[in-house]
């Protein structure tokens, strides 16, 4: 059992858990916002302060926009769930379905143990076969399996960037829902409600303004994966194992 065998279900599980947390956080945000609105609407004090209506309405509309944006964004995330799972599966398949069989062939290509009388074959054809044919195929086979490993590792990084992002997102939205927006539920006065609305909207805006810092970890993982892949693409033939970007031809 390789480490990938155990890493694969763990990654899928981590991703699904991150999606679940993001969903629950945004659900709490919506619930608390609705409860907050209910609190304001059922508070008899608002009828005693008609001059506050405009401000209250405006504040709630601003906050509703934020809640709406986060709800829609989260909904969009879920469209990526199945594709990201496919990516994790692919990262595993590059190892099991390519790296393993290819390195298995590579280990047998130049092995003459099974061909007991191999040493009996001498002469020009034999020399050409071992020095040109086997050697070049061996070089190409040896260069191929690390590629599968590299691609697998790269895809894993991409998946981890997603998991990190979703977890951070869930934590931040959860914070906003359970503190700033929750304050609106318990606001006992109109002034208190106005303050809670203002604070909540501010916290939402701040999350967006500081997204680069807040989600720094996921951006970093993503950037690493990006440069890793650029290197992989640009150096794909640098080993000389694949002359003219192709599999070496011994027989033409």
């Amino acid at each position: 059992m390789t480490s990938a065998d155990s890493q694969y279900p763990a990654l899928i599980q981590a991703l699904e858990e991150a999606f679940r947390l993001a969903y629950e956080a945004v659900k709490l945000l919506i619930d608390n916002f609705n409860k907050g609105i209910h609190n304001v609407n059922t508070n008899p004090l608002i009828y005693l302060a008609p001059d506050m209506f405009g401000k209250l309405d405006q504040g709630l509309s601003t906050l509703r926009d934020w809640v709406d944006k986060f709800a829609k964004a989260t909904e969009q995330f879920f469209k990526h769930q199945a594709p990201v799972i496919a990516l994790i599966k692919a990262s595993f398949d590059w190892l099991t379905q390519m790296q393993k069989p290819v390195s298995d062939i590579a280990s047998r290509a130049g092995d003459f143990e099974q061909n007991k009388n191999y040493g009996e074959w001498t002469g020009k054809a034999a020399t050409y076969y071992s020095a040109q044919v086997v050697a070049r195929q061996q070089k190409a086979l040896d260069a191929l399996s690390p590629k599968a490993e590299a691609i697998s590792k790269w895809l894993t990084q991409v998946a981890q960037a997603n998991i990190k992002f979703l977890n951070t997102y869930a934590a931040r939205i959860g914070d906003i829902a359970s503190s700033a927006v929750a304050a609106l539920i318990s606001a006992g006065t109109i002034i208190g409600a106005l303050e809670a609305i203002g604070d909540a909207a501010e916290v939402c805006g701040k999350l967006v303004d500081t997204a680069v810092t807040v989600f720094g970890d996921s951006v970093e993982y993503y950037s690493q994966a990006m440069s890793f892949m650029r290197d992989a693409v640009s150096t794909r033939t640098s080993t000389g194992a694949f002359p003219r970007d192709a599999w070496p031809q011994a027989v033409s």
Binding site: L87, M98, E120, F165, A211
Partner: protein, 115 residues
């Protein structure tokens, strides 16, 4: 067993090895062919959500998707070429074995003529 028979057996055994490799690498190519990934797979944020949460990624997920497809299709092509090459090597080895057999037969025939 005369010398030429040992050698042709050796060469034929090598040919069988490459045929085996060709058979084994075929499914690898098929597997890679099925590992295409859509751009949605590369990041949960897309054009729509980037407007809400500006992450300033160094490159859009579409570029990651393109890089992946570049590598995937390159490897798929290499594997296809490898399979064809292995089959050709096996074929060439069989031809070598046949040539040895014919040459040996000619020599034996000559010897018969001599004696």
């Amino acid at each position: 067993m005369t010398g030429f028979q040992v050698v042709t057996a050796v060469v034929r055994k090598e040919a069988a090895k490459w045929d085996e490799f060709a058979n084994e690498i075929g499914p690898v190519r098929d597997a890679i062919a099925s590992m295409k990934l859509e751009p949605l797979a590369f990041f949960v944020l897309d054009a729509i959500t980037f407007a809400t949460i500006p992450l300033k990624l160094p490159a859009p997920p579409e570029e990651l998707a393109r890089s992946y497809e570049d590598m995937r299709s390159f490897v798929e092509r290499l594997l296809g070429e490898a399979q064809a090459e292995f089959t050709e090597i096996a074929g060439a080895l069989v031809k070598i074995a046949e040539t040895y057999e014919q040459a040996e037969a000619v020599i034996e025939l000559d010897l018969e003529q001599v004696y």
